[in-house]
Symmetry: C3
Subunit: 439 residues, 3 copies
Amino acid sequence: MMPSYATNMRLKFSILALTLEAVTIVLYAFLVVYDTGDAHGHDGSHAESNTTHSSSPITLYPMFQDVHVMIFIGFGFLMTFLKRYGFSSVGINLLLAAFGLQWGLLLQNIWHMHDGKIRVSIEKMINADFSTATVLISFGAVLGKTSPVQLLIMTLLEITIFCINEHLVVEVLKVSDVGASMTIHAFGAYFGLAVARVLYRPGLRNGHENEGSVYHSDLFAMIGTVYLWMFWPSFNSAIAEPGDPQLRAVINTYFSLAACALAAYATSSLVEKKGKLDMVHIQNATLAGGVAVGTCADMDIQPFGAMVIGITAGVISTVGFKFLTPILASKLGIQDTCGVHNLHGMPGILGGLAGILAAALGKKAGVSPGYQACGLASSLGFALVGGLITGLIMKSPFWGQPPDQNCFDDSIFWEVPEEEEENEERLTHGDYSKNKTEA
Amino acid sequence: MMPSYATNMRLKFSILALTLEAVTIVLYAFLVVYDTGDAHGHDGSHAESNTTHSSSPITLYPMFQDVHVMIFIGFGFLMTFLKRYGFSSVGINLLLAAFGLQWGLLLQNIWHMHDGKIRVSIEKMINADFSTATVLISFGAVLGKTSPVQLLIMTLLEITIFCINEHLVVEVLKVSDVGASMTIHAFGAYFGLAVARVLYRPGLRNGHENEGSVYHSDLFAMIGTVYLWMFWPSFNSAIAEPGDPQLRAVINTYFSLAACALAAYATSSLVEKKGKLDMVHIQNATLAGGVAVGTCADMDIQPFGAMVIGITAGVISTVGFKFLTPILASKLGIQDTCGVHNLHGMPGILGGLAGILAAALGKKAGVSPGYQACGLASSLGFALVGGLITGLIMKSPFWGQPPDQNCFDDSIFWEVPEEEEENEERLTHGDYSKNKTEA
Amino acid sequence: MMPSYATNMRLKFSILALTLEAVTIVLYAFLVVYDTGDAHGHDGSHAESNTTHSSSPITLYPMFQDVHVMIFIGFGFLMTFLKRYGFSSVGINLLLAAFGLQWGLLLQNIWHMHDGKIRVSIEKMINADFSTATVLISFGAVLGKTSPVQLLIMTLLEITIFCINEHLVVEVLKVSDVGASMTIHAFGAYFGLAVARVLYRPGLRNGHENEGSVYHSDLFAMIGTVYLWMFWPSFNSAIAEPGDPQLRAVINTYFSLAACALAAYATSSLVEKKGKLDMVHIQNATLAGGVAVGTCADMDIQPFGAMVIGITAGVISTVGFKFLTPILASKLGIQDTCGVHNLHGMPGILGGLAGILAAALGKKAGVSPGYQACGLASSLGFALVGGLITGLIMKSPFWGQPPDQNCFDDSIFWEVPEEEEENEERLTHGDYSKNKTEA
């Protein structure tokens, strides 16, 4: 082990995590209260909240839980495809999202407090969960190559920058982005790619023996894929205006994903010589339809319009995995572990463009194509600049970045069951091949 | 590899999938619109829709998502029990259901359009998901022995035939089948068994080394089992009349499944010499109570009635797995990979019979035992004839049916991680046994 | 196999399970009916039911399904961490909960019938599911060391005793315990620990080769963890008074768990020399915040109060796993397989104490600190005495307790796939090490 790598996390991780939590609790003690009914009488909260129309404060709760499942099961298990990195994928995903939702709820609502307080409702919890999705997308780009300390720092910074951009795009520019193709998916992807560029590792140019899947790790990843696929209609409709717009968001996402799935399967088979399906494509590109229909999910694009968006996203995403990801790594020095550029980046931009087109065609009242374009540009700009700055901060060796040979391996930051280490030892000591040689 | 097997899917699969999707999108462009509130004023859609009573168009959304989970996680993971066929089980399940729901929504509603349009609501999405269940049940009968191309053809034909039978039984004959014991479960099972009969493989008479589970594949399958078990009350009540009938459907299914679980465990232990539990029984027979209570789920049979149905189904299903499945294979040439005859076939018929009895006892107003019997006969008839015809069409070697030795193996249609192939290679080259011999 | 162990379950398990189910069905035939609207007119059921306020009898259904998932997926998969005990963990969990919910629904409502009938509603189904949680917690303490027959007996007795204590605490003493920190978590933990003490096995003092995890079994366990973590807000709020108290219960649990997760990660890293995270802590201690906030979940403790409870629970739980569990085993003869003392025991008591404090500070009208203390004492007393008596009954060798060498191994009560047995055989026969020696 080279001495320059400070990968013992004992003090720095514990202190950072507990400090962040302590600061958060103090801020909550001063700023955060329940959005209970008695508070509604004397402030203007009903003006900004879509939930006050309903008779029950938990009307949105089932959709909140769907989104919650997407964040913690969906994103977490989607990344377990790596053969030796499942603990980190699902475990660090939980850590980052648990901190991120607390931080996101603060920063998203700091702009419009009432009587100096943030009033927590189910809708605000949904938005807090959403804010963590940006970090989990970026996590996919740097998966296997970063320490928990680095990732907590990224969470803190990325959610802060996300909240600034979201406020600007949604509140100031009044851009329509109900499923957040631009403000979450494109933002999270390009933020993560910028970080990955700064953290470029020449030593991994030729790949790494652990950067691949085994049979069962691919099945664990499918748990994540299928949950994301199923609950995406909730993601795109949860904060839509109740009534017809919300119903449209559900229906459009349902059909976009169905069409996208067929496109992803067809394209996956088409780009492989023997016509076989590739799990990487199935795990990811089947979801691109959910990303791409996000911006115009609540617009009057009709089911067939959603299906056209979905099929386009499925093709683009699969082709991206096959042909673009290797080029990004070799030519631009962007090592994108999970291929977030193909699942969130390009489909997010496609979603933004579809939103501009839909606005130009008048599919939603009061939405202008020009402002939509500004929203897309702002999201990309904040993502790239924010990601570069964040990457530079994360680059310090003090944060415990793992050395190249320990990348994509849980055992550097986790206790891993002995049995597995024995296997490794056998492989390392070449017992199997030795036997073969003898034979 | 024998030259007569055309298992390279590259062009035929891609072209078929994209053609089906393209035709579907064109049909949707002409026929399918949102069921938005403004449309209700001038047509009769409220007469056929149960949802218009409610204040929100998404009242049924949580139940829709439960059904969605059953279709994609439940059916998908239930079939991952095979040691080398998990990618296909959960992956092709997703593909078939994604296409099937689009096709089912069209065909189920072509019979009663308004102003020449199909108006999509959450209830119609639930029914579309339901229609795919028939295919996924039949998929279980032929699991491991068919190509994706064959299965897409089966999806197209089976859903079409299902929609004809469903229309006849539910709309014309006014048969009561809220949980679809007859129209989905018995139909799907006997359709699949008929297809399996036509595709009979003498070469698999003595089994296949891959037709079994390993420890972790059985645990993956339990994910499917438990989700189906938990959410079955939603399946049986989702389209029930709101109010007491829907509540009865939830309660009856809850208790039927609980009683069925005890019966399945007890019977599994009883039929094995050493009294051990068998995962095949636990994964499947615990669910038979949900199938069997389907037809009379919304009827006034009281909780203990539901429990009697459940316990009967659990015993019949377990006994079927133990004694009947081997006979079907050896005597009738029906190789039923997942034992759908035991989980969906016999319990589906039991459900139909229970419905006839409940109708005769007046447990639901306006339901006649004679028409109920016609509904059961029609479902079985359409299933067997439809399955035979579909099987004959699927039998063409051009569709890429795998040769016997490649059955139950993902690697013929999927890229499979190298590590596994190495293991196979080792096993094939006999390195392990060679070592043993040397010793 | 020693002759004194009667581990062939064939007759005794089947007869016990079927007898229990038959008795249950007879009792249901006489006592249990639907809580349909027409019944409300002429009895007082609306006085005791919180659900009658709502327009639909299935308003609580989404929360019921969340709780259902926690019981069957959450508890079931959480215990799959053991390398060779996954079938039992998820399978016996299903068996016990399926029987337990039928039994619990009877015993919880026997105290207040109307016209001699128990009227089943969604709320009563939620409570029935809750009652099974006590057994599943206790199951964790004796996991791997008991037979299915013993566990069915424990289910019968524990739920009976639970219902007596719950009636006393909640109905007679009017103690507030909305998330059941005391009546379910502390009760289930100390009941299970008392049983474990009676069933103490000196032969396992030095551990057992199967009492550990492998890489993929830890990932299966994370499915359980994450589902429990996500849906705990439903557990703590499902039977809260609709409106603000229910919203508070959701919000408090959400924040308590988020803060708890950070505390668990930080403490896990802190107590290990190299600062690595330990899967045992992550799988369990991240959930302690849900347990500990249970009693005062619906009280006006504000989000930061919930976070303080959560962070405390996360630290206590992790420290308990690291330092207290080994001491309990070596000094007190309490072999707590899953460490339920750390996840449910201490956090449950912490929840009770927090409730006393919150009552003293007037955070909920009509709740007295003295009665709260009585509720905690009663729950602990019934648990310890009930657990000791139940343990003595379970101790009889006739019930098929496995011998020490077969503990933590599915194959004594389950058919296990052959491939695994081959592996075992290879390991037993020392083929691998033999090869190594040769080399």
